[in-house]
Symmetry: C2
Subunit: 367 residues, 2 copies
């Protein structure tokens, strides 16, 4: 592939110098920010992630901060997940859905205080959505994108490494919970979360001047655990059933067909934008659903766009992400029509190279 | 630089196959879409653009379409430029500004009908801003991102090439005007516009299935003019004083300090969001302004982030884009404080390599 062209517009982070010193080999752009996609190779990075511990510059997970008397109301208006019982110190995976039922993002919402939230975003300018709603509805809420750049520590040795830098109390942080832990003269939000299923933490750096020091402290402490630079891994995330906004779901999809039904609380007594649309979709029933595919193939081209899924010469869906897993072989996410979405169903996947591969529908996650 | 990683999320366009067949060497991502930044080299592309004619895949200029009874009102609410006398068939360069006076984008607005507009966008999800405002204010307007991908024809031979494909009437299209011209069984909006000062057109392809045919027709007709694939050129656009949203201005800037005062109509009897903020900024006077710099340097590193501008050991501003022009030498855009913004002023530019270069403030554009 061609190289990526540097500019201020595709922002660097406080960790970029370290990422490049570690030999990043490929980037993407995510929330107008550089995001590494490979160091040695996606497959080598995959094995390392599953065995050791990695530092990931996920500064591209930009935060939209909502603060003020109407912050709680606006946050709830944007998501179909019931936030009424959320507690301070909790991270909540929460689809953001528009008034037509279209998914706009799928952030983690961090409840920092009763009147203060961070939306840790997938790739879209939700700042503009929140600002537009707040202005139009006349809400009393301050909305901004603070200088917060998360650093993820992921992999089975994450607890051991983090305990060396942040103290043993880090082990007590529950899944999708966060604490504020000291580092030098600062204190960072540290959450047990991250975009892999290998365990780990995300450290919400809000002091850009300490970025290099934080990286270096984790790096030094991590030598005994074979720490390496890493990034969200294209293979591991498909194996683990982690959907990517913009790849596996877009504004054209509703959360119910994306397998996010357990976060859709349109039957509860709460107010949010998508409620009437989701009620209507539930009455009609969904027409398609994201499922897994096990593809009969030894190799696949890069999945740069959707690939048609066929059955009896008719289009019955589309693949949105496809990888060859060293452990599972060729696997994919596919949005499938109801006539073929049952596990065990056989279908055909057409790749851009012109090949047709048989495939079997399976439940998610793969592992 | 590392390579760019392909995915559905960083969208391809109907022209991407042709762009890659022509040997694109570097990409950026713009509006979640691939945008070429170099083919042979930025300097070789520069000379070719100034002498011949190029095809640019600017499908990343995504359109936000506003349609309906309140489309005109919402479009005006978003921009500080007076649209009251805009006519159908006109393209209007129009800063979008929020209620605090911050620039959110600087699209061309195409007035397709009295109740129908396209915002041909710089890099930000203005769809979400427009949708948020419309929902909050209860406006009757349909907002969408249609499958429109512009192809630009730029360079001194643009008229001759376009006349061969679209007929002689293309020569009659005035600057920043558009007509709908036939191509095969379709008709495309064709505007005399584009992100260079070398002359040319933008063809708003709204039939993705005809993308390859359109490219090929222009390519065949262009052989006699030495047509080549090109892209917005980093050197030419700085020479010509074309600001890049996200590079040279952000939401932290107001349009007055960005040299966009002639598009700020906050003294007129029109209603838009930024009006009170711009009135207040005008009363106080701006504190900084984008100016040109001629830098005493033979070579510069890539401008990946802002560079400090110093005077008497004090910070007096920042460079946002810097290039070495074959014709003008080292030049840059810089946001400068009032004490140094007068043309002729000498300042120092500090590059990330640690070098300090003397520079002279000059008016824009350079050419």
């Amino acid at each position: 592939m061609p190289s990526i062209s540097p500019s201020r517009r595709t922002r660097s982070t406080p960790f970029t110098e370290r990422v490049e010193a570690c030999g990043v080999s490929a980037y993407t752009v995510y929330n107008h920010t550089l995001l590494a996609t490979a160091f040695r190779s996606v497959e080598q990075d995959y094995w390392h992630l599953k065995q050791h511990v990695q530092l990931w510059d996920v500064g591209c997970e930009r935060q939209v901060a909502l603060c003020g008397p109407d912050a709680s109301r606006l946050t709830q208006l944007m998501t179909c997940r019931d936030l009424s019982r959320a507690r301070v110190g909790q991270c909540l995976y929460a689809p953001l859905v528009d008034e037509a039922g279209g998914v706009l993002n799928d952030p983690l919402i961090l409840k920092l205080a009763e009147d203060r939230f961070w939306l840790s975003l997938a790739d879209a300018d939700i700042l503009l959505w929140a600002k537009g709603l707040a202005y139009g509805l006349g809400l009393k809420v301050h909305i901004d994108e603070p200088a917060v750049t998360p650093l993820a520590v992921q992999g089975p040795q994450s607890d051991a490494l983090m305990a060396k830098v942040f103290g043993e109390s880090v082990r007590d942080i529950g899944f999708f919970k966060f604490s504020r832990l000291p580092f030098q003269d600062a204190a960072f939000v540290v959450a047990r979360s991250g975009w892999s299923k290998q365990g780990g933490f995300e450290i919400y750096l809000d002091r850009p001047d300490l970025g290099a020091a934080l990286w270096d402290a984790l790096w030094e402490a991590g030598r005994e655990f074979a720490v390496a630079a890493g990034c969200p891994n294209g293979i591991e995330r498909v194996e683990s059933g982690l959907l990517s906004y913009g790849n596996d779901m877009t504004r054209a999809n509703n959360p119910l067909e994306c397998g996010l039904g357990k976060y859709c609380h349109h039957e509860r007594d709460i107010e949010f934008l998508a409620k009437p649309a989701l009620q209507q979709i539930t009455r009609k029933g969904i027409q398609q659903r994201i499922m897994g595919l096990r593809i009969d193939a030894q190799a696949l081209p890069p999945c740069r766009d959707t690939w048609p899924v066929m059955h009896n010469r008719l289009s019955v869906g589309q693949v949105s992400s496809a990888v060859v897993s060293p452990e599972l072989g060729a696997i994919a996410f596919a949005m499938l029509k109801s006539e073929v979405w049952e596990p065990g169903q056989r279908v055909q996947v057409m790749t851009p190279a012109g090949d047709t591969h048989p495939a079997t529908v399976v439940d998610l996650p793969f592992i």
